[in-house]
Each structure stands twice: as C-alpha cells, then as structure tokens.
C-alpha cells in the first residue's frame, strides 16, 4: 500500500491530467460533430423531416397546394377505417408480398448456391442473372409492355404453340393483371438475390463443405443441411429488402403500366397512396395512408429480424 502511494503523482498533477484528457475528448467530439454535420443535416432535412411532416399532414384536411390546410384530426383515420378501397389495397399488397417474396427466395437461394460452386460458366451466368437489376423501373415497365400487350410476345408465343385459348389482354384482364405485375418482380428478383446469395455463400469456409463431402454428402444435402442453416440470417436480410421494395418501390410499375386497374385489380397500398396524393390531391388523407404503409413496414421488419435471430440460434 505504502509503496503504491509513493508511486502515485501529487493531487494537482492528477487533476491537470484529467482536465487535459477531458479537453482532448471534448475537442475530438467537436471535430467529429463538424465532420458529420453536413451529412447529418442533409439526412435530417430530406429524410427525417419529411417523415415528421407525413405525421403532421395526416392530421389535416387539405385538398391542394393552393387551398387552405385545416386541422381535422382524427377524421382522416376514421375515413381510412371506412374506405372500401383500403381492404382491397391491403389484399392486393398482401398477395404481391406473398408471391413476390415466396416466388423469389427458394429459387434465388438455390441458383446462388449453384453459382457458388464455381462450375464452368458461373461468371457469365452471374452476369446474366444480375442484369435485370440494372434496368430502371421505367424501362422494365416498357419491356414488359411489349410482352403483355394484346399483340405482344406472350400472346404471339401462345398462338404459335397452339394455345390460342390462353391468350388474353394480360394487363387489361382483372384475373391476370396483378399476377403479370408480380411476375416482373419475380423475374428480376430471382436474379438479383441469387447473386447476393452467391456473394454471401462464398464467405462460408471451405472446410465445412469438405468435411461433409468426405462423409459422402452430395451437393443437395450440403445445400440444405450446411449452406441453408448458415444463410438464415441472410434470408432475413433478403426478405426485408424485397419486402420494402414491394411495399413501396413496386408502386412505380403500377403507375407506369396499369394505374391500379382494371377496376381495382392492381390497386396496391403504395399506388393508392400515390393516387390520393398526386392524382386526386387529397393531401391530408394520402398521408394517413402513408402512415399505414410506414407502420406496416416497421412492424414487419421488426418481426422478420426477431424471427431470423431466433432461428439462427
């Protein structure tokens, strides 16, 4: 004890060291602040501030920029509850999510696993699989317009193979319009996520596969017994990405191709929000729909995170 005391510095020295250290930390924090400030400002101004505005606007009655904005809480939310279009939009969005995710996941995983075996030709396959992800929604819509329109490739193909009875106006038929839009997302989604799975799978240590191979396991067993369990976390990531895209981004294809029709066959929540805001100019009500969309988004993401972290244990 006594020896230790002797080695200790005098009180005032300790004090000045602490002050000096605090000053360094303080200065560092100020520098830190100024370095992140511009980016933070941008982010707050154009992402979080609009989000707060969404909540505010949803509590008002407002039928156009030039018209007065009157507070009317909770009328927009009551209207939401009684609006017959909301159940339709929720149903269509649900169908879109279900098929848009389930139609992509298993195929993307299996193709990604196949690519990760580095068989001859995997590089060219990877390039082809990835290319739909580079196409803008506008171009995507225009490409598929050429396939789906009455005189399009799909009907022409069906006529050629003698299945004329199956031809139809794909985007103009109540029973096929939503499916046709979902097919576009599946078409490009499988490729994009298979390449992401490929990238994730190449991080698995080789020894794991080798050990299984020595035990006589084939690729099929390795894929489901080794790669799949290791990819559970990544499945969660992929589901979240695809979920957010379909919930929000996919509305663009509806804007470009069907405008929610025919009837209300492709009226999704995202498109309904867009049309209320920009076509009918019910600004207040549109933001009440936006809140529904936002809350569904947050809840489902939390749910997926919870499930995938449970499963990976």
């Amino acid at each position: 004890m006594a020896a230790a005391n002797q080695a200790m510095p005098a009180d005032h020295e300790v004090y000045s060291n602490v002050v000096y250290h605090r000053r360094i930390v303080h200065r560092r924090q100020i520098t830190f602040f100024w370095l992140v400030f511009p980016a933070l400002l941008w982010f707050l101004a154009f992402m979080l501030w609009p989000l707060l505005n969404m909540f505010y606007i949803s509590t008002t009655h407002w039928d156009g920029l030039a018209l007065p904005q009157v507070s009317n809480f909770p009328d927009n939310f009551i209207r939401l509850y009684h609006d017959p279009n909301i159940p339709i939009a929720l149903r269509n969005t649900g169908i879109h999510l279900l098929f848009g995710i389930l139609g992509v996941l298993p195929f993307a995983f299996m193709l990604g696993f196949f690519l990760s075996l580095h068989k001859p030709g995997y590089r060219i396959l990877r390039t082809i699989f990835f290319s739909p992800s580079l196409i803008s929604v506008a171009a995507l819509a225009m490409i598929f317009l050429g396939l789906y329109r009455p005189a399009g490739v799909l009907n022409s193909f069906l006529n050629t193979v003698g299945l004329s009875s199956l031809t139809r106006v794909w985007l103009g038929d109540q029973s096929t319009a939503l499916g046709a839009l979902i097919a576009i997302d599946i078409w490009s989604g499988i490729g994009f996520y298979s390449v992401l799975f490929f990238a994730a799978l190449t991080n698995i240590p080789e020894e794991l596969y080798e050990a299984a191979m020595l035990d006589g396991a084939g690729y099929w067993t390795i894929m489901w017994k080794i790669a799949f369990p290791l990819m559970l976390d990544f499945f969660g990531v992929v589901v979240i990405l695809q979920f957010l895209y379909i919930l929000s981004g996919a509305a663009q294809i509806v804007i470009l191709l069907t405008n929610g029709g025919p009837g209300s066959a492709t009226l999704t929540l995202g498109y309904y929000l867009y049309s209320q805001a920009f076509l009918i100019q019910r600004l207040g009500y549109s933001q009440a729909i936006a809140i529904v969309l936002f809350i569904i988004g947050i809840l489902v993401i939390l749910l997926i995170r919870r499930i995938s972290s449970r499963l990976s244990y």
Partner: protein, 287 residues
C-alpha cells in the same frame, strides 16, 4: 485456382452429378427467360411495327434507325439525357462532399458519438420512399425549386447517403491505424488528413460508391416524376412519356427509347461488375 476448384474436379471425376446437371438446366432456363425480353427489346428498336408483331423474335432484316430519330423528335431524348447526366454529376459530387468527412469521422474517430451517428443514418434504409414523397414535394414547392433539376441535385444525395456511408466506413475501417498517426505527428489537421491521405487511399471505395450512386440516380423515376415537368425531363421520364404520348402503342419507338436509356448503365456494368455486386452485397448486410 483455389481449393474449391480442386475439390470439385475430384467430385466430378467420381460421377456425373445429378445436382450439377439440374443446376445447369435450371440456370440456363432462367438465363433464357432473362435474355428473351431483353433481346426482344433490342431488335424491336430496329424494326417497323408490323414486323414487331408478326415476327417478334426474328432478327431485323435491315437496320432501320428511324425509330431513334422519331423518339428524339417525339420527346427530345438527347436533352433528357443531358439533364440526367447533369443531375448525376451534381448529385455525385455533393454526395461525396457530404459523405466523405462523415465516413472518416465515424470510421476513424474514437468517440461514443460514432456508433450513435451511424445508427441514425442506418434508419435511412427503413424509410419507404413513398412515405416521404408528398412531404418532399411540398418542401420543394415551398423552396421554389419545383420543376428545376437543381431540386434533384439537392435531393438525391440524401437518398445516396446511407449506402455511401456504409460502403466508405467499412472501407476505411480496414485501413491501418498508423495512417493518421504519422500525419498527426507531422502537424496535419483533420481536413488535411482527410483530403491528402484518406481521399487518395480510399479511391477504390469511392469508385464503388460513385458507380452505385450513378446507377441509382440514372434509374430514379418516382421523385423525378413528381418534381420535374415537361421542360426538364430526366431520361426515365422521357422514356415513360414515349408510351403516354401516343394513342396506339408504337412499340418500336418505345424500344428505341428503352435501348438508349439503358446504354450508360450497361457500359458502367461492363467495367465495374465486381464492384457493383460487392457494393450491393455490403450494403445489404449492413442494412
């Protein structure tokens, strides 16, 4: 090349693997499903409308560039491309100016604020663009920037921020500590360290960020749709308008527009494929 290759050749010698055959069949089938629509669009751009309908998948008999000229006359594709290029350049520079110092601070400065700031930015991945579409429109109108491309130059960096930050911070974290230590001893301040040391060293990361942001900006449709008007169309708006402007579908015209609009992105893809894939992967797992 690697251990994996040797393992596979061993296995291949043993037996023709059903899994591999199935994998190839499945892959090639899907590859065809991707290529056919793309091929259809490319050849349609050079054909007249009756050929497009009667023989949709046949090669054009002669290369007819009429549709490109018509598309140009119709919606002024070249002007739209110039606007898109200008917006992309402006937004790219602004993104980099905003994000680079922030990435340095978060990756290299040891303070408790770093983790918090990073978390704030990663919220950006969770905000659906549709939710902020209307409020952003109102802000732009209030600022008097509606229908002016400057609005997009200011706005797009906000959308590019989360991904750019993730990519640059993860790149900077891999660099050795000694980098700035030696500079500090030489008496350099933070801005000098960032500009003279980190900027050149981070060039590979910066290129990835620039490439990914370019693709996203070039392809962006929704915000351009509500913020621009007929005098200032981006390429994506011009493309969509090719269809809206006509009563009956002139598909050759549309195909010519699609083809032109995709050229810049596919050129970038040819040169930077690996960066694009690895960048998107890093972005996905950090989300």
């Amino acid at each position: 090349m690697s251990i994996r290759d040797s393992r596979i050749t061993q296995k291949a010698r043993n037996s023709p693997d059903g899994f591999v055959i199935g994998g190839y069949l499945f892959s090639i089938l899907y590859a065809f499903l991707i290529i056919i629509p793309l091929y259809f669009v490319v050849i349609s751009a050079f054909k007249n409308n009756s050929q497009i309908i009667t023989t949709p998948l046949a090669l054009p008999s002669a290369f007819d560039f009429n549709k490109f000229l018509q598309a140009q006359a119709n919606v002024n594709l070249l002007r739209a491309m110039l606007i898109s290029v200008a917006v992309a350049i402006g937004a790219e520079i602004l993104t980099l100016v905003l994000v680079f110092p922030a990435a340095y601070a978060i990756a290299r400065m040891q303070t408790r604020l770093a983790a918090f700031t990073e978390a704030v930015f990663s919220l950006g991945f969770l905000i659906p663009s549709l939710a902020i579409l209307m409020p952003v429109y109102l802000m732009t109108a209030k600022a008097g920037l509606l229908y002016h491309p400057i609005a997009l130059v200011i706005l797009y960096p906000a959308f590019s921020l989360p991904l750019s930050l993730v990519l640059l911070t993860s790149f900077m974290r891999k660099l050795p500590r000694e980098l700035e230590e030696s500079a500090v001893m030489d008496g350099g301040n933070v801005l000098q360290i960032i500009f003279y040391i980190f900027f050149p060293i981070c060039m590979p990361g910066i290129i990835t960020v620039l490439v990914l942001n370019f693709i996203n900006i070039w392809n962006e449709y929704l915000f351009a749709l509500i913020l621009m008007d007929s005098n200032n169309r981006t390429i994506q708006l011009a493309l969509a308008l090719l269809r809206a402007n006509q009563r009956t579908v002139d598909y050759g015209l549309i195909a010519a527009g699609v083809l032109i609009s995709m050229v810049p992105v596919f050129i970038v893809f040819i040169f930077f494929q690996d960066r694009i894939v690895s960048g998107m992967f890093t972005g996905a797992i950090k989300e």
